[in-house]
């Protein structure tokens, strides 16, 4: 059994792993785990990842969770081009810096934007107050400003002249609010230009394929009561 990747492309970190593997020609078996059907909570999946989250990787006897760890593992095992995670001490540190920073900032804000704008009302049938949504979108806006001012600045990509793991993680995060109908790139020409560059570096077809699911998030069929009850506590914990 070769490399297996347990993914749902609804999930931001799953998209980053998927794009990275495909872009670098890394052969893998795709094991779909449908989050909206609660499949990540099944006993079968718990055997793969007791933390019950995607993405997860299985390589023979070795299983691994956390997209950043998975990306670094694939990076090292498959000897991909240097620009993804440079050998240069300082260039590498810049990528590490972004990958650490994003967990509690952009990742969190993008997740909340999707859930407050679309997933709670449409998928879980839970209304979200306009004040809550406005606060979430304001936080996202502030973080986007940080992304531009502190990370991107006047560079072609987040950490230098070439695309790296940082850009991959960031772009897949930003597509979350885009999937929710937020105009993340409007009025932000620097970010919009960066997005074009990242899409081109990844490959337009692959980029679009990876984002098909999230762009249809607002068409999620409403969850039935049983699924809703199963998912609710974990969703609330995830977006706090």
């Amino acid at each position: 059994m070769g490399l297996e990747l347990y993914l749902d492309l609804l999930s931001q970190p799953c998209r980053a792993v998927y794009i990275f593997a495909k872009r670098n020609g890394i052969p893998f078996e795709l094991r779909p785990v449908e989050l909206r059907k609660g499949q990540h909570l099944s006993d079968a999946f718990a055997q793969v990842n007791p933390l019950k989250k995607v993405p997860a990787l299985r390589d023979g006897d070795f299983t691994l969770t956390e997209s950043v760890a998975i990306l670094l593992y694939l990076n090292r095992k498959y000897k991909v081009p240097d620009h993804w995670y440079p050998q240069d001490l300082q260039a590498c540190a810049r990528v590490d810096e972004y990958l650490a920073w994003q967990h509690t900032t952009l990742r969190r804000n993008c997740l909340r934007a999707l859930w407050h704008k679309v997933m709670f009302p449409v998928f879980l049938g839970e209304p979200v107050s306009p004040e809550m949504l406005a606060a979430t979108l304001a936080e996202l806006d502030a973080t986007l400003q940080l992304l531009e001012d502190k990370f991107l600045q006047n560079k072609a990509f987040l950490t230098g002249p070439h695309i790296s793991l940082a850009d991959l993680i960031a772009i897949t995060e930003l597509m979350h609010p885009v999937g929710a109908g937020c105009q993340v790139f409007e009025g932000r020409p620097k970010l919009a230009a960066w997005r074009q560059r990242v899409e081109a570096a990844v490959g337009k077809d692959l980029f679009q394929e990876a984002h098909e699911v999230i762009l249809k998030a607002k068409d999620s069929p409403p969850a039935d009561l049983i699924i809703k009850q199963k998912l609710m506590p974990r969703v609330l914990a995830m977006i706090q």
Binding site: P50, T65, R76, L89, C92, D149, A237
Partner: protein, 241 residues
């Protein structure tokens, strides 16, 4: 000017960097940025790190934030013993896995406990609603259990027989509630034993030196608290209501 580390040992991330540098005899200038006096908002510090957070590293013209990034940088630049960040593919992946997971699973909740149990009541004079406190404590207990079952298991340290960056980061974060007199190690002898092992591997002298400011937090005179910090705390209290 050699290596400079901008730190306040009240912060768990700062303690990880401090302990690592000291343990590996990496020479550096300790630049104290007093969180309680709001010095992380000062003009001088904003020039170092516009995100106004600690720790920061300055190596000549190169400035770096995020403790995980700083630890990896120090490991590589100073060629520290390999057990800190093992070169084996799978073992290294385990460290990466923990370092990614801990941001939201350990660091945040542990930090919240200190706010809830100590900083917020001390500064605002008000307790956080019991329901919220209980919710936070449950989250911490759940995550400590996950840490034990998934990361530590029956091993001496997270990666096996030797201490690594993962143990260091885990422990300094789990110490954070101690500043508010809350000990997360009481429920599990396995975790308590691991805690002791990590302390000994670091060296008890260095470990407790790094935690001195945290342990003395209860004695702190909060009338010297920076008003901007006080305001932030009041805002935090509102979120918990």
């Amino acid at each position: 000017m050699g290596l400079e580390l901008y730190l306040d040992l009240l912060s768990a991330s700062c303690r990880a960097v401090y302990i690592f540098a000291k343990k590996n005899s990496i020479p550096f200038d300790f630049q104290f940025v007093d969180l309680l006096k709001g010095h992380h908002h000062s003009k001088e510090y904003i020039e170092i790190n516009p995100l106004k957070k600690l720790p920061s590293l300055k190596d000549g013209k190169f400035i770096l934030s995020e403790s995980v990034a700083i630890l990896f940088y120090l490991c590589r630049k100073y060629s520290t013993p390999s057990h800190w960040y093992p070169p084996d593919l799978h073992t290294r992946a385990r460290v990466d896995e923990f370092m990614a997971w801990q941001h939201t699973a350990i660091q945040l909740p542990m930090s919240r406990i200190l706010w809830i149990k100590m900083l917020i009541p001390r500064i605002t004079g008000e307790e956080v609603p019991a329901e919220k406190t209980e919710q936070m404590l449950t989250e911490v207990r759940t995550n400590m259990q996950l840490f034990e079952e998934k990361f530590l298991q029956d091993k001496m340290f997270i990666t096996g027989d030797h201490i690594s960056l993962a143990d260091l980061v885990a422990l300094v974060e789990m110490m954070q509630p101690m500043g508010g007199n809350y000990n997360v190690f009481l429920n599990s002898s396995r975790l308590a034993e691991w805690r002791m092992r990590v302390e000994l591997a670091i060296g008890s002298g260095l470990f407790w030196e790094a935690h001195d400011r945290l342990m003395k937090l209860a004695e702190w005179d909060c009338s010297t608290l920076d008003p901007m910090v006080k305001e932030k705390i009041c805002v935090l209290l509102q979120k918990f209501r």
